[in-house]
Every structure is written in C-alpha cells, then in structure tokens.
Amino acid sequence: MEGAYNALKFFVLNAIFIITALIFTTYLILTVFSAISLRKYLRKNSYVDYNSIVSSPLAPSLSVIAPAYNESRTIVDNIRTLLSLYYNNYEVVVVNDGSTDDSMEKMIETYELEKVNYYFDYRLPCKRIRAVYKSQNRSFKKLTVIDKRNGGKADSLNAGLNVCKNDLVVSIDADSIMEPDALLKLVKPFMEAKDKKVIGAGGVIRIANSCEISGGHIVKVNLPRKFLPRAQVMEYTRAFLMGRMAWSELDGLLLISGALGMFDREIVIASGGYHTNTVGEDMELVVRIRRYMVDHGLEYDVVYIPDPLCWTEVPTTIRVLARQRSRWTRGTLETLITHRKLFFNRKYGKLGMLGYPYWLMFEYLAPIVEFLGLLWFAFLAITGRLNWPFFLLLFGFVYFFAVSLSVWSVLFEEMTFHKYEKRRDVLRLIGTAFLEPIFYHPLVMLMSIKGNFDKIFGKNTWGAMDRKGFDNKKEDPKANT
C-alpha cells in the first residue's frame, strides 16, 4: 500500500511540476510574441490616417449583423450606436431571435419600421424568418430588422448572413458597445492583404461595467468597482493583449470573440455558416473557415488587432458567471471534438501543430489538471501527509509567476492604449492581479469543471445573461443619425 502511495506521489508531483513548468514556459513564450506583435502593430499604425478609408471609393462595403434576444432594455440604444459608427458604406442587420419581451415593438416604434417584401435565399439553414422590416424614415435607411423564430445566436447570425448584401460581415452582440472607429480598424487588415486572403479579423473586447456611458458611447472609462468584474478585467487584459495577440503573430488563432468579429461573407457561407449545434459558435466558425481554406488549398490569414474596439458588460454575480463559464467550456470542448482531425496534423500547419494542441492542453485541460492537483492537495492535507514547506514553495512558485504575468499584461495595456486614465485605477488593477489567483481563479476553475459535467450530462443551453443595461438616459435616436 505504502509502495503504491509512493509511486502515485512521485507520479503526481512530477506530472504537476512538468505540466506547470510547460504551461509557464508557454506563457512566457506567448508574452514575448505578444510584445513583438504589439510593437509591430503600434509602429505600423501610429501614423495611419483612418479617415482616408471613410472618404475612399475603394473601401469595401460592410454588413453589421447583430442578433438580439430579449434585449428590450438596451436594444434601442444599441441600434443607435450601430447606426452612428464611423464608416461610409455599411448596413446594420438586427436579427430579433424570437424575443418574448417587447424588443420588436420597441424597435418598430422607435425606428418607424414596417414590413417589406424582402426576397432572399436560405443559403444557410436557419429557423423561419417571419418578416423583414425596413424604416419608413430615410435617416435609418442603413437599418434592416429581421424577425425570426427563436433558434439561438448562431441561427440568427445565419439568418443575417442570408439577408445581408455586402462582401464583409461584422458579427456583433447587440448588447455590446462598439467604438465609433471600430469598423475602420477592423477592415484595414482586409485591405492590406496581398498574397493571402484575409478571411477573419477580431479585436480587443473591453469591460464596460462601471464605465460612464451616454448616447450609446463610452464617455469615461472606469475600472469596475466590484471585485468580480474587476478580476474579469484582469483576465480579459491578459487574454486579449497577451494570448490572442501572440497567437495571431504565430498564425495559430482559434478564436475571434463572438462579441465582435469581421469575416469574409462568401467564405463563411461556403464553409457552411455558423454551427447551430454548439454553444461555442464563434470559436467553431474560426476553426472551420480556417480548415476550409486549408482543405481547398487557399492561402489565407486570420488577423487579430490589439485596439480596444468593443465594450461589453460582464457578469457581476457568481451565478451568472458560472453559467457563462460553463458555456465557454462546453463550447471549447465541442469545437475541439468536432475538429479533432487537426490535432498534430501537419497538413494544417501551425493551426494543427500549435494552435489546436495549445487549446486542448492549456485552455481545456489545464483547469482539469489544476482541479486534480487540488484534490491531491486535499487528500494529503487530510491524511496528514502534506509536506507544508514544499507545498508553500510550490504555491509561491505558481502564485508569483501568475501575478507577474498579470502585471506584464497591465504593462502592455499601459504602454499601448492606457484606457484607464486614473492612476488609482491602474494601482487597483495591479492589486487585483495579486488577489485574483487566490479569490477569482479557483472559482473560474471550478466553473470550468462544472462545464465539463454539464456537457457530460447533456446540458446544451446558453443560460440567461442578466444585463443591467448601459444607458439610463433616454434620448431621441434620430439625434445621432
């Protein structure tokens, strides 16, 4: 018995150490690549005049697709923001996904909508479209509203893709706030393409909790007052400015956030549109369009830009956060299973050899390994076999490394976009970096484990995301168009 225990102890200790060392080395490498990529991007774009895109006849036309389900509280303001984006040639397609609240009525009333005889083709499968609405008021001529039966976000995006007209599509959550120049920044990589076709581009998503918002625009950026959203700010800063930036540089980007992404419409349609059987449709789409390009022998690029382009509200309660994280875990797992063929498949280049294995081992499996480590720790502590000095050493190793990584990301933010103007906010963010590994990270890890159980037991729902709504001021939407 003692022999078996010793063998297990030897294995677990070595395994935990090797995995942790591997993860940390990977993070260090990603930090370096991210720094290189950020520097290159900033130098390249420091003198760019985005206004030239607005006035140019050569700039491509865009379709912004915003699915909305029971967004009654925010829908009018959010459409107003979408209609006042800084771009010359674009349309806004709002898809009402069978809302049970008064979203549709509010849109009809505010934007003077009426049913039109819209003829379109179901090029992508989606639930029945009941009607297409356009405004009688020419000030809102950019706006098209689709009213369809409820089918989920992916289904709504497919409906939008069927109806929209332009070559490049922007998918956005109707409850997010886009920066006015977001389209200009997102479209630029598509226009810079030379030998390779750019098929997708994503940007940084920022957290709007506690920010001052008026007229559908961020007026003042504040760090969230509550710890939970503040910890998510830390997490997002790390993920977007370090992780995704590096993966873009390494050509292994697997995810463009569903909150905001721009895609080549024909490639999306040719590869089958959004997958409706997954809760991680954003990641699944990126992997699929990339696979499509490789399978058809086409040169391509998926680009990620570090500019903060979109602001979103994050969960403020553990209950809602748990739902969101469970969904993210299920989505990741579903995509990884669907595209398992990529795993160390040389045909798919860096996507198969680097991107996929990283997501499998570090994004998906890391919380599981961590959870097993915790169980092992609990077992040792309860049975009195825990070597406390060694445990503290191991804990210090993990803790300080994690904090230093977070502070690196704060530095990146400070060196690049420094959205938090108050010194106090930056110090609080650094303080959060010290607290996050103890009070927030274990929570997220447990939520991820719950996501795995949810998947095993067949839970396949999105789960409601209680939004507080951004704007309390009621303004005339016509004022900004």
């Binding site: 150490f17 060392a21 940390f24 130098r43 390249k44 420091s46 003198y47 030239s52 895109i53 006035s55 140019s56 006849p57 050569l58 700039a59 491509p60 009426e114 039109v116 005889n117 819209y118 003829y119 379109f120 083709d121 356009k134 405004s135 009688q136 001529k141 630029k188 598509f190 226009m191 810079e192 393409a193 030379k194 030998d195 060694f390 050493l393 191991l394 210090g396 190793f397 300080f400 490394f401 904090v403 230093s404 502070v407 690196w408 704060v410 530095l411 400070e414 060196m415 420094h418 010194r423 930056v426 650094i430």
Partner: protein, 390 residues
C-alpha cells in the same frame, strides 16, 4: 508601517541589531537549504525570485511610464496651443512674423517639441494650398526641421524611416530622394509602401511612374493611399489606361478604378478589351468600371460574355446593366430572370429591368400578373419594386 516605526522607536538600537542578526541567520539557513536541495526545489526558488524581481521592476516601469505619459500629455497640450498661435501669427500677420519665428525657435529646442511642431505644420499644410502652404514650408526650412526629417529618413529604425519619408514628402524636400528610391525595394513591406507614397508626393511629372516597374501586388490599402495623394496634392492625373496591360494584376485593377474615378471616358474601349483578360478579378473590375463610367457601348460585349462568367462576375455584369439602363436589353434581362436560380442574380436582373423606367416596369407588372409554372415572379418583383428596400 506605523507599528514597525513604533517598535523601532521603543526598542531602540538593540532591536535593530537583533533584527539584523535574525535576517543573517535566516538567510544563512535559506542558503544552506538551497545548496542541499534537489534541482527541482532550486528551480522553484529561482522562478519565485525571478517573478518577484520582475514584479518589482514592472511596477516601477508602470509608475514611471504613467508619470511620463501625464507629463507628455500636459506638455503636448501646452505646446499645441502655443504652436497654433505662433503659426497663425507667422502665416497671417506680417508684423509679428519675426517675433513668432524667434519664439518658435526658442520653444522648439528639444526633440519632443520639434516633433510636435513638425506634426502641427503637416496637419496645417494638409488643409491649405498655394502661398500659405509655401509659407509653412519656408518656416520648416528656416527652423531647420528638415534636418530632423532627414535624420529620420536615414535612421536604421524602419518606423523612423517611414516618418521621415512622410515628412519630407509633405514638405516637398527632395534631398532624400535617393534614400527613398532605395527603399522602393526594401524587404519591409511598410517601408516599401511608404517609399512609393513619398515618391508620388515628390514627383511632378509622372508621379505614378513606379507602377510600370512594380512587381509586388498593390494592396487595396495602398491603392486608397495613392488615390488620396492624387487628390490631396493636386497632382497631375495620368491616363490610367497605360497600365491596363501591366503584368501586375493589382496595378491593372487600380488603374481601372482610377480611370473610373476620374471619369476617363476615353478609356472605354480599352476597358472593354479587358473583358477577355484571363484574370477573373480584372474582368470583374472592368465590368464594374463600365457601370461607373456609364459605358453603353460595353453592354453588347457584356451580354456576350455573361453566360460563361463566374458567379461574382455575373453579379457585376447585372449591376452594370442596372447602372446603364437600356430597354434594348430587356429581353436579355428577362431571360436571365427566367434561367437563373440564384436570388441575387434574379434581383439584379429585375432591378436592371426596373431601371429602364416605363418599358421595364410595365414588363415587370405584366410578369407579376402572369402565373408562371416555373417561377414565382411576384415575390422577386415585389422586392425590387418596394421603394423602402434601398
């Protein structure tokens, strides 16, 4: 902090000595343990020390950087205001000119403030033309800001080169032309592009001469910038059809777009000639341009090639038929509506019919009333005739 100070105050020197002794003993113990421990533990200690040191360094950098940002932002705000006033004095008030010049010389004494002044002058000259633009250029030379731009153009850092090229092109300084010419073949894509743009700005006679020798593709972004330069710098617009036979496809497409933008109707025949081009993209641009320059003479050729074209090009051909409405082609458009199964093609064909006004619309109304076994015309025609769908 307060309890520690109190403790030091009350316990005095002896406590400090005790503290020092304790630290010495502790560090010795750590060192002994460190030396005896296996590599595994050494690594853990190493990473912890590395992380703590990194943390401290990063915190210092973040705080210093924040201070620098605040200082620079204040300075920028102040200097921009002063520069604006002084520049206005220099440009518009003859009697204050000398005083403004002296002040500017005095203020723009370091690199940061000189760069801000250059940026301000460029911003101003973008929006101005003629004599005033020349006055700004003279001031740029008098203040010897040219040296700063030249230094950047010859710097080893590519991002400085780019900035230098831009400034020299805006201020029409040709002293670095050789350097810019060299950079036309740079391995760095951005430097290459900026060198092209600078050359356009600095050439009087044939600003787009370099297009003849261009081997690398011209991205849409570069095309936009080159087009903007033509308008902004009031450059002589060349006849773009000279590049229709270029081997570089992106150059052909750019030339087509520009021919259309500057309404070079004399290029119509040459554009029609490109309907036979082997590149699908070039043909697509040619069809589009025919629509933009409203070339009626291109319609028979387009009708001829329609059937064998790709889907994207069929869309473009029908769009052009919509832009250049001609009732002679109602039969052709009706046959497209009958034959094609794709919704977009049907809609574009119907729109083109509608655009011919009376004959097209009455034909569509007749079709709507008829009951075809093959196609539900009603739904397509209703969509097209619905004025609310823009």
């Amino acid at each position: 902090m307060v309890p520690i100070l109190m403790w030091i105050l009350f316990c005095g020197r002896s406590s400090l000595l005790y503290g020092q002794d304790f630290l010495n003993r502790y560090s010795d113990r750590v060192m002994i343990r460190f030396e005896k421990s296996p590599a595994f533990v050494t690594i853990l200690y190493g990473v912890i020390i590395y992380s703590i040191v990194t943390l401290i360094v990063l915190l210092i950098i973040i705080l210093l950087n924040r201070n620098r940002l605040i200082r620079e932002s204040k300075q920028r705000f102040y200097l921009n205001e002063v520069y604006q006033l002084k520049l206005m004095d220099y440009i518009f008030e003859e009697e204050k000119r000398d005083e403004a010049l002296q002040d500017l010389k005095q203020i723009a004494s370091n690199r940061f403030s000189r760069q801000l002044l250059i940026d301000q002058m460029i911003d101003l000259s973008i929006n101005l033309k003629g004599e005033i633009k020349e006055t700004i250029r003279d001031l740029y030379l008098v203040l010897e800001l040219k040296q700063d731009s030249l230094k950047k153009a010859y710097s080893k850092k590519w991002h400085e080169n780019v900035k230098g090229f831009r400034e020299l092109a805006y201020m029409n300084i040709r002293e670095a032309s050789e350097r810019i010419l060299e950079s036309l073949n740079s391995s760095n894509e951005i430097v290459r592009m900026e060198a092209q743009i600078a050359m356009v700005g600095l050439s009087d006679e044939n600003p787009y001469h370099f297009l003849h020798f261009m081997e690398k593709p011209l991205a849409v972004w570069e095309q936009i910038t080159l087009h903007e330069l033509l308008i902004q710098h009031d450059l002589k617009v060349p006849l773009f059809k000279q590049w229709f036979e270029s081997e570089n496809l992106s150059v052909v497409i750019f030339a087509l777009e520009m021919a259309s933008w500057f309404k070079q109707r004399g290029s119509g025949k040459a554009v029609i000639g490109l309907f036979e081009h082997e590149s699908e993209e070039v043909r697509n641009a040619a069809y589009r341009v025919c629509g933009q320059i409203e070339s009626k003479s291109s319609l028979p050729a387009m009708k001829k090639v329609y059937e064998n074209e790709s889907y994207a090009n069929k869309l473009e051909i029908l769009t052009t038929f919509g832009k250049v409405p001609d009732e002679k082609y109602l039969g052709f458009l009706k046959s497209v509506l009958d034959m094609e199964e794709d919704v977009q093609l049907q809609i574009l064909a119907t729109k083109a019919m509608e655009n011919t006004d009376e004959p097209g619309i009455s034909m569509l109304i007749k079709l709507m009333k008829s009951k075809s076994e093959y196609k539900n015309y009603q739904i397509i025609i209703r969509h097209v005739l619905d004025g609310r769908i823009y």
